[in-house]
Symmetry: D2
Amino acid sequence: MYFASDNWAGASAQVANALLNAGNGSVPAYGADDQTRVAVDWFSEVFEHDVSVFFVATGTAANSLSLASVMKPAGIVICHDVAHIACDEAGAPEFLSGGRLVSIPGARGKLTPDALAAAIARYFPAAVHHGRPVAVSLSQSTEWGTVYTVEEVTALAAVAHAHGLKVHMDGARLANALAFLGCQPADITWKAGVDVLSFGGTKNGCWCAEAVVFFNGKKAEDFGYIRKRAGQLFSKSRFVAAQFQGYFDRGHWLDNAYHANTMAKRLATGISQLSTARILWEPEANEVFAIWPKPVSARLKAAGAQFYEWNPDGLDETEKPRDDEDLVRLVTSFATAAHEVDHFLKALGK
Amino acid sequence: MYFASDNWAGASAQVANALLNAGNGSVPAYGADDQTRVAVDWFSEVFEHDVSVFFVATGTAANSLSLASVMKPAGIVICHDVAHIACDEAGAPEFLSGGRLVSIPGARGKLTPDALAAAIARYFPAAVHHGRPVAVSLSQSTEWGTVYTVEEVTALAAVAHAHGLKVHMDGARLANALAFLGCQPADITWKAGVDVLSFGGTKNGCWCAEAVVFFNGKKAEDFGYIRKRAGQLFSKSRFVAAQFQGYFDRGHWLDNAYHANTMAKRLATGISQLSTARILWEPEANEVFAIWPKPVSARLKAAGAQFYEWNPDGLDETEKPRDDEDLVRLVTSFATAAHEVDHFLKALGK
Amino acid sequence: MYFASDNWAGASAQVANALLNAGNGSVPAYGADDQTRVAVDWFSEVFEHDVSVFFVATGTAANSLSLASVMKPAGIVICHDVAHIACDEAGAPEFLSGGRLVSIPGARGKLTPDALAAAIARYFPAAVHHGRPVAVSLSQSTEWGTVYTVEEVTALAAVAHAHGLKVHMDGARLANALAFLGCQPADITWKAGVDVLSFGGTKNGCWCAEAVVFFNGKKAEDFGYIRKRAGQLFSKSRFVAAQFQGYFDRGHWLDNAYHANTMAKRLATGISQLSTARILWEPEANEVFAIWPKPVSARLKAAGAQFYEWNPDGLDETEKPRDDEDLVRLVTSFATAAHEVDHFLKALGK
Amino acid sequence: MYFASDNWAGASAQVANALLNAGNGSVPAYGADDQTRVAVDWFSEVFEHDVSVFFVATGTAANSLSLASVMKPAGIVICHDVAHIACDEAGAPEFLSGGRLVSIPGARGKLTPDALAAAIARYFPAAVHHGRPVAVSLSQSTEWGTVYTVEEVTALAAVAHAHGLKVHMDGARLANALAFLGCQPADITWKAGVDVLSFGGTKNGCWCAEAVVFFNGKKAEDFGYIRKRAGQLFSKSRFVAAQFQGYFDRGHWLDNAYHANTMAKRLATGISQLSTARILWEPEANEVFAIWPKPVSARLKAAGAQFYEWNPDGLDETEKPRDDEDLVRLVTSFATAAHEVDHFLKALGK
């Protein structure tokens, strides 16, 4: 009953096998090999666009170096209060980009165009003292398990671009968002105004496959140097390339995400039907937030369930757990089995 | 005929299989899993010491963050003129550590205690203007394919420690050095005075397996934060752990290195017997430096050989190639086949 | 009618004369001169403590390098939402310290022990992902013109120290706070738990006289290097030393501050007696916040008054200006004349 | 007998008086005042060019932020082995610019076009591993008291520009170079190819007056942010502006430099006539390097002379002092008196 995080799973069989088969022969290092070229072609096909793709080691690196690529001196990146870059990356975005984050609230983990516009407005007229906004970063799907619609991303990007800001998307769980939206990857990224994307494969079936994707080659110009200087240029690039090939092949990545989302739905539906617990809101991706009496948490853990209590900061007062309740986060993944969900629901329902 | 670099090979079968088998089940992320614990135990056993081990993504990251761990404001790291950190890491050591490198010459890629002492002496008496040396970094084996003896490392470390400097070893090719020296890993590291080690597995049979090893727990204190802030903390840590398990199991790593060194020896011996070429010096690890008439390089490449012309800067005048000659570097690896060497020698001898 | 900022004034005659007299003879550079020693002795006398003092060029530098001196990898400094370091220093604190700021709200520009404790609590139990709080920074007086009492600083410092955080005080307007409190400099700094202080002379009568003051020599150890590496070590140190000598001599600095505070009081009292305007709260230092109908601002500016409209973010709803009103900040200084205040009040009252 | 450095002197009377007169009235802070505008106009007049000027606190800051303004990720600045930025600024250029310095030798402290071209050539063809040269930095006058001719600067700039590098000039002692060359400031800067200049006033009669001068407005675009983020934006900008006004007025700065150079010449000539000492070469600016028997140094210091023994690294073997000799540096300034020189010569000649 593993619902702690989607990075607790290993690699999917399809990805693991692709990697196993990648090792033959001697090929150029540092990404000048054919397998890397093929993987990059996959990206261009998936996004229906001629993209520039750079593999990096972690989602934190993808985010931080994406932001470094659009940074200017005294630059500011605007993001949501619960954005991964703001809360869970130990200052790497600031350290690696040289910039600063300014976070703003928003219901259910989403920025709104109005709030973004207001946050930007504080820096105009420009004054060196305040620094200057250079980008907005959106998490898709969000840390609260919700998903921006195409219209929402488009509207946010319009606000950003109108003021000269670039749009970064933290796509650590982009696949889950796509599985929910049913749109094409292009629709929710460059067509909606995204300039640079952190594309995550690790949480959704890979061992270690993260990429920074530029939809405009010019912006990628310096990135080779940015990546190398950060110690993020793999010598045996094909080990990531192979994973991505397995990941994209025959829609495996979307299948994985669809499965994870389905398991989240199953979990949420099950919880909703119990009198002992409730869900915070309908899951859109692969994260379910549930509220139950505090003793339940301990009981479930004793029964072997893995999950984290979650910080309710930023929720509306009406949404927050009572003092005698826990808010918990339950994450499903490509590896979550239906019987695992059912077993959990049974334990919860007792 | 692949002699361009030891990072052109893929993963060894033993390492690849270890990785294939690592994926089952759901385990804690970020290194809190059993496989990571087992891999760390391997390190302590290999080094006969209770070590602190941190996986990172690349050799550049291992070096840069090792140096970050011993850095102070206005700190200086002394290294050899041809050190990888000085020449091939795009400023990552400076960027990630906040310090500065000062490089000094030395025959055959090695620092000498006298040269090190002289370099340090320039910073005493201390003055803020000049910064302050905080560490010396040794490459073992060196960029010129030579290997420091235990006595040499011990003497260098003694000079460093006498002036309050820490000793870092860039062990991207430590295995090759050990295969040459025939000593224990402990002998050439902590027993000789090394404080922090970049331990490389990637060039010698892994896909992506690099670690920073501290021989003194206290110095490792901050390292979890240093690594995370640099975007170098893998979520699925076991994918590195599994590689290291396969790497260490039954002496696989030393077998690989011994093989690579043997192939280098075979190559060097073969070249020595030809009238058309000469070797710069006897290889000690897995790199052969050869000199031959310029037209030979083109002819060999046309025949399918892969290698790099090398910069003779820093060689003694008597060692340097003549104007009509090329200096080339030939690197062997665990994957180099004897017939590949022989085929190359035959092509060279024509 | 200059109420835009206390840095619009020049230097006081006493400070200017001290500087004029400082230039004779040739003395050692970089702070090894007698005048610097005398100025440092002034600090120790003023603070009744053996302090370490380092001159720097600006208040931003003093704050940023103070924080650098207590920084650790992935370190976080907690401050108020309107702190100068958070809003007006263009990311210098992050850039120069390598750390990150987390800001929290608090009535009238002040942090409270409870809010501080809650902010710290989010980082325990420790996890590398979140970074780690290393310091709290207090502004004394605050950006809202209020002053922490000795009890308040003591209580905040107790919370900070209990969790291993250092206490930094941004004393750009420390003199004004002292003039309000009537306590000794020691009482509100090291005796109350302050570890490192940005001591500002520029706003209160100097041209350029800012210092970082350590109350514990050990913490100052690295600071010479930190300052030099930031390009903040003056060669002709005595030009700052002379200003500080003039500043401290015969209580000049406190006289200046007392005068500025008195002018603020005069301004506030005058505004309170008018029907056309109101003050936000009683000024404690040298800043008055007033609210009046929007047309008034333009009229006053046309009459030659200098001041800034101010951002009401963070005020209680009951305190905020109505939509047809402006919130303005009026700052007095050592150079503000009583007739200037009266002239302004007359113009306002029309 | 003060020959330790030209920063041991105070401010000249003309500069000190200008500063004394600067303090009247209340004016906008942060450089938006008339006196700053007037000072900037002085620069444009002096350089016969529409320049962008930014005051900073120190020469180290001027150099470091100049380099920051032309930096790119993984960028390298090429400079001379004895450049101030390489030897005496504690890593500030690297810290504040994010780049790396690569230093090369050259007789008498000067870079040569051939050596520069060779240094640049090592980075082509481009490879991320090696970083990339973005600028060359020239010291005018040099650390060895020599002066680049207009032809020399022009030739170096041509090499730099041909490879896309910018040209930075460290003009901490530019005035002394101009006094030697007798050319116009424009001739040796923008007309010769200099893109950005560190203009120093401190060593030549000011208290604290350093500026970064851009000869191309576009390159200055980000500099306001770069300066503020480094804590180098003075609030009371006019205190620097006033010094520069006094400095430029009626050619005061060139008079000062001419005097310093003349004193150096007098010193060198005097030493040349003694049998007990010799000069390394004819001084071109305000620094004399002399060689004499070791006991002489102690004797002179006992007699009240102030100077530094100097490191002979980088000199030709024929130029170096013998083991029983000291190499010393003697620096003159605007404040050096002829009788001081004569007194010193007398003491030396005993």
